[in-house]
């Protein structure tokens, strides 16, 4: 091992082998994946998402939600993800076609969000929860995202988008209301769009969950 060129060739080749397998292959293959036609609705799978949800994905990224919430359902029987209700089926590559950044996540400090839009379809619930998680789940350790909301004096009619149902110490003072910022609205639109429960041929739902 006293010949530098030989060492160079060796470190080049070992590295290249994995580079081809774990970088070039997914880039060329998964990177070119296409949506499938949806015969039932005439649309595509995975379904397209609204512009607001796409904007919300940026808020999801800048707030760092991914550090506590995964977005992947692992297969059975390797895991109990499906039995625990994270989703009706395993998530597969095509599910992430709509994502600018695929937030697969590595932690479940909080629950998995692959299907949060199906589990909690209520916009106001999400606003309440983001404003102060403990108004809906008193044992939650999620931080409050109050900074995405504005507490303002009610002038004339209350705002139509004001957050309802805030109680206890988190409720606004009498005559005041809590309204979501554009960012908060976008984030909730993104969360509601998280529904990986459509059918994909490559990921059949297990018959006995």
């Amino acid at each position: 091992m006293n010949k530098l060129p030989l060492i160079f060739v060796g470190i080049f080749l070992t590295f290249t082998s994995a580079w081809i397998g774990l970088v070039a292959y997914p880039t060329l293959n998964l990177g070119e994946m296409q949506p499938l036609p949806d015969e039932e609705t005439g649309g595509v799978l995975p379904p397209t998402t609204s512009g607001l949800a796409v904007a919300g994905q940026k808020v999801y990224a800048s707030s760092g939600c991914v550090y506590c919430h995964s977005q992947q359902v692992r297969w059975s029987p390797l895991s109990t993800d499906i039995a625990k209700g994270l989703g009706p089926r395993q998530t597969v590559a095509r599910d992430y076609l709509r994502e600018k950044v695929a937030f697969l996540g590595t932690m479940r400090t909080g629950p998995d969000l692959s299907n949060i839009g199906a589990r909690q379809p209520d916009t106001n619930w999400h606003h309440q929860h983001l404003f102060e998680p403990r108004t809906v789940t008193d044992w939650s350790i999620m931080p409050s995202y109050r900074y995405l909301y504005k507490t303002q004096k009610i002038e004339g009619q209350p705002s139509s988008d004001a957050v309802q149902g805030l109680r206890g110490p988190h409720a606004p003072k009498l005559g005041y209301e809590v309204v979501p910022s554009e960012e908060a609205k976008a984030l909730v639109a993104y969360l509601l769009s998280l529904k990986k429960n459509y059918k994909l041929p490559e990921s059949p739902e297990p018959s006995e969950p």
């Binding site: 091992m1 006293n2 060492i7 160079f8 060796g10 470190i11 070992t14 590295f15 082998s17 994995a18 580079w19 397998g21 774990l22 292959y25 997914p26 880039t27 293959n29 998964l30 990177g31 070119e32 994946m33 990224a61 800048s62 707030s63 760092g64 939600c65 991914v66 550090y67 506590c68 692992r74 297969w75 390797l78 895991s79 109990t80 625990k84 395993q90 998530t91 590559a93 599910d95 992430y96 076609l97 994502e99 600018k100 950044v101 695929a102 937030f103 697969l104 996540g105 590595t106 932690m107 479940r108 400090t109 998680p133 044992w139 350790i141 931080p143 409050s144 995202y145 109050r146 900074y147």
Partner: protein, 493 residues
């Protein structure tokens, strides 16, 4: 000069270097400014990064802590912590150790120090911009690559200078043996820019489609540990262990086996972060197999280091360098075997999304790599500033605070993570119980953070004293105890 033993004649590269003390002092002096610059900035970011980590840790048990400020929310502090310690502390400290080792092992004074000084300054500007970017909400939430797109090119330019410098040094090295540490250094200095450029191009600058991202992300993140930090950590261990105890490495052939098996298998490990994830099964399987094959380099290196140390363990009583380095080398074995076990799907399904993984990460980055960096600095800094460490007692404090702190942290996260993982796995358990199981262990982890930070403050205090040459001049190196029988040649520190 003694005549060479039969062993060293057969295996010429088992000794770190063959320089006389004047040459050695000249080479050390030539590395002074760039290496100290990298070290000083690294220690600064270590303190910043640890403080960010400490606040995020306490937020997990007290969610209301500092929750009114967007820039202090958990989802920004945590990536700021990770990036500050990876790119602010570990990388520059590794570069500093790497530069010094390269100069000594190439047996020439450091060339083109201006290239390195510029690199250090540019690198730190990039880190500052990146950390602020994450805190103001420009973070990308791609793990290990959170820095916003406007700061990564700066880092890349700084790194390019270092890569070019490495090639120049190896090109002009004195003819002769290439020591095992040099293989690791040469490889690491070339692998890192390749990793960093690939990941940034495909995930940050021109992102590929969502389905492909996870694979590239974890190929990158795992290889930063495996093909950047690990080789530099091992290069340091292979250099300092024989150096301090004054005997050659046990086996040249084990070093070769360890090096090439690491190069081949580590690079394939990344997908074990995505077991059960949305990827073709063969990719995950390949990584699981490669993770198992990691037993070869790890055990080879462990045997080689252990056999070198055999009969010299009493040196741990007096040498600060050796104590930190051996702690790191043993942790390397433990963390690597743990890592391989975590790739076994049946165990992975329990530990995957839990604090267990966080414990593993800290075992690798702190108990192994950071301890090796501390040990290396204890050896290198006195030779750069021409001053001895002012207090052996403070070094001892630094060691024990670090050792106790990291063992408490890893122990707490490992146990808490297992309970959390079992609750998440068990169909009859609620999500709430996963939080309740983990909570007391998270409190312990928060406490361990204070202990680690205290150790770092002691070290920073010592380092500043060294830079300013404070304290009474000492006759010899700061040792924990007086070695029983040592000549001046073998007492390294």
């Amino acid at each position: 000069m003694n005549s060479p033993s039969l062993l060293s004649s057969l295996n010429p590269s088992t000794e770190p270097d063959a320089l006389d003390s004047i040459e050695r002092a000249e080479i050390d002096a030539s590395t002074r400014i760039p290496v100290l610059l990298f070290f000083a900035s690294a220690i600064f970011w270590l303190l910043v990064g640890s403080s960010l980590g400490l606040v995020s840790a306490w937020k997990m048990t007290n969610p209301a802590l500092l929750d009114s400020f967007s820039w202090l929310t958990f989802g920004r502090l945590r990536p700021a912590h990770l990036n500050a310690v990876i790119y602010g502390w570990a990388t520059p400290a590794a570069i500093g150790v790497g530069l010094w080792l390269t100069a000594r092992l190439c047996r020439i004074p450091l060339l083109h120090s201006k290239l390195l000084i510029s690199a250090a300054i540019i690198w730190n500007l990039g880190i500052l911009l990146g950390i602020c970017g994450i805190l103001i909400g420009d973070g990308r939430s791609i793990e290990w690559l959170e820095f916003p797109a406007y700061s990564t090119p700066i880092l890349f330019i700084a790194y390019a200078f270092i890569g070019i410098w490495t090639i120049i040094m190896f090109r002009f090295r004195k003819p002769g043996h290439i020591y095992v540490s040099q293989w690791y250094l040469f490889a690491a200095f070339l692998w890192f820019p390749w990793l960093y450029a690939t990941a940034n191009i495909l995930l940050v600058w021109q992102p590929v489609q969502g389905p492909a991202q996870g694979a590239i992300n974890w190929w990158y993140a795992h290889n930063v540990l495996g093909l950047w930090f690990t080789p530099i950590g091992l290069a340091a261990a292979y250099y300092f262990i024989p150096k301090v105890i004054g005997r050659p490495i046990h086996s040249y052939y084990l070093s070769i086996l360890g090096f090439w098996s690491l190069a081949l298998f580590y690079s394939w490990n990344g997908m074990h972060h995505l077991i059960g994830g949305p990827f073709p099964a063969w990719m995950v399987s390949a990584s699981v197999v490669a993770s198992m094959m990691m037993f070869i380099p790890v055990i080879t290196t462990a045997i080689n280091h252990h056999m070198t140390m055999r009969g010299h363990f009493e040196s741990l009583q007096w040498s600060p360098t050796l104590r930190f380095i051996v702690f790191g080398a043993v942790s390397y074995t433990v963390v690597s075997l743990q890592g391989s076990s975590m790739a076994i799907p049946a165990l992975n399904t329990i530990t995957h999304f839990t604090d267990y993984t966080i414990g593993h990460a800290h075992l690798g980055l702190y108990a192994f790599f950071t301890m090796i960096l501390f040990g290396s600095m204890y050896y290198i800094v006195p030779r750069l500033v021409g001053w001895e460490w002012p207090s052996a007692t403070l070094i001892r404090w630094h060691f024990w605070l670090s050792a106790v702190g990291i063992l408490l942290m890893v122990g707490a996260l490992t146990l808490g993570g297992l309970l959390q993982g079992l609750a998440l796995y068990d169909v009859a358990s609620t999500f709430r119980s996963s939080l309740e199981f983990a909570n007391p262990f998270r409190v312990l982890r928060g406490i361990s953070g204070f202990i680690l930070l205290a150790g770092q403050l002691v070290f920073a205090f010592l380092f500043v004293q060294m830079l300013l040459k404070l304290g009474a001049p000492k006759k010899g190196p700061a040792l924990f105890t007086k070695p029983a029988e040592q000549t001046n040649d073998t007492v390294a520190i």
